[in-house]
């Protein structure tokens, strides 16, 4: 895959800024730009996190083109990749690292999985929404949280419940 330069992406993202956009939309765009800049830089920090970052980049490369599944899957956009990178960066250091995946609608997933009914999946949408679904024993929990640069508290609590006990 040919990666566009940081400048190209920054210009593209900047060009999409139009007067009257909501603060939320502007924030998501800023987060995406920061994430894209990270994509262009050498990977650092701890070994496990470095491996996770590399896995995320590799997944993005596999799913960055439309029809990556041979069944009309939507491409994972740079916006989604950048938000995913920011979410990975936002995970507290003592938290287990997730396994990554991609859905055919072009969203990346973070999964914390302990067993069939101790599992949490979070999808990252292009507009910065985190759609989550968890099975915790007999109970289930699902919904949407906005990503504002920090891991939303309800999702943090669900991760804790996956690994609790």
């Amino acid at each position: 895959m040919i990666r566009p330069s940081t400048m190209t992406i920054s210009l593209a993202l900047t060009a999409s800024t139009t007067p009257g956009r909501s603060p939320a939309a502007i924030y998501v765009q800023e987060q995406a730009m920061t994430g894209w800049n990270h994509y262009q830089q050498p990977i650092s920090r701890g070994h496990a996190r470095q491996t996770a970052q590399e896995n995320l980049v590799a997944l993005f490369d596999r799913c960055a083109q439309p029809n990556w599944d041979g069944h009309n899957a939507a491409a994972v956009s740079q916006q989604v990749y950048c938000l995913a990178y920011r979410l990975l960066e936002a995970l507290p250091p003592d938290l287990p690292l997730p396994e990554f995946g991609a859905e055919p609608d072009g969203q990346l997933t973070f999964e914390w999985h302990r067993a069939a009914r101790r599992t949490l999946s979070v999808s990252i949408s292009p507009d910065g929404d985190l759609h989550f679904a968890a099975l915790l024993g007999a109970s289930r929990n699902y919904g949407t949280e906005a990503f504002w640069g920090d891991l939303p508290q309800p999702i943090l609590e669900l991760i804790g419940r996956v690994f609790m006990g």
Binding site: L59, R62, C63, D69, G70, H71, N72, A73, A74, E99, F100, G101, A102, E103, P104, D105, Q107, T109, E111, H113, A116, R117, T119, S121, S123, S125, H131, F132, A133, A134, L135, R140, Y142, G143, T144
Partner: protein, 135 residues
């Protein structure tokens, strides 16, 4: 492959195969299938294949036909009973196609992504994943 078309009604206990073409849809930790493999797209339906009347090698043969159509390597399949889908409010509906008389569309998916995800979670939790056997 079987030349006999199965009955139109999909029985509750019938196993249905969801073919898997992405290694990212299988957990590295325990080789189970992820919910990502059951998210419907581009339409609100999910393609699966009935086992009914098929030998094991015939079930895999159908997957290889789909693999050729998609031009993606078949890596495994997730078997789920029709009752599992029905429990989540979905309807497995027989939908034979030229290349697969055992084809089923699972319809009735909600539009909202979180609702789709929790259904996909429940289905994946009850699925049995089988990697493609080595030749």
């Amino acid at each position: 492959m079987s030349l006999l078309a199965p009955p139109a009604q999909v029985g509750d206990e019938e196993p249905l195969a969801r073919y898997v073409f992405s290694a990212d849809h299988v957990r590295k930790t325990d080789q189970s299938v992820k919910p990502d493999a059951f998210i419907p797209h581009p339409h609100l339906d999910l393609s699966v294949t009935r086992h009914l009347g098929l030998a094991e090698d015939q079930i895999w043969a159908h997957g290889k036909v789909v693999s050729a159509q998609r031009q993606r390597p078949l890596i495994g399949r997730a078997d789920v009973t029709a009752a599992t889908f029905r429990r989540e409010g979905l309807q497995p509906s027989s939908a034979p196609v030229t290349t697969n008389a055992h084809h089923v569309n699972v319809v009735g998916w909600p539009v909202g992504k979180p609702a789709q995800k929790i259904i996909a979670q429940e289905v994946a939790a009850r699925a049995r994943y089988l990697p493609l056997p080595a030749v």
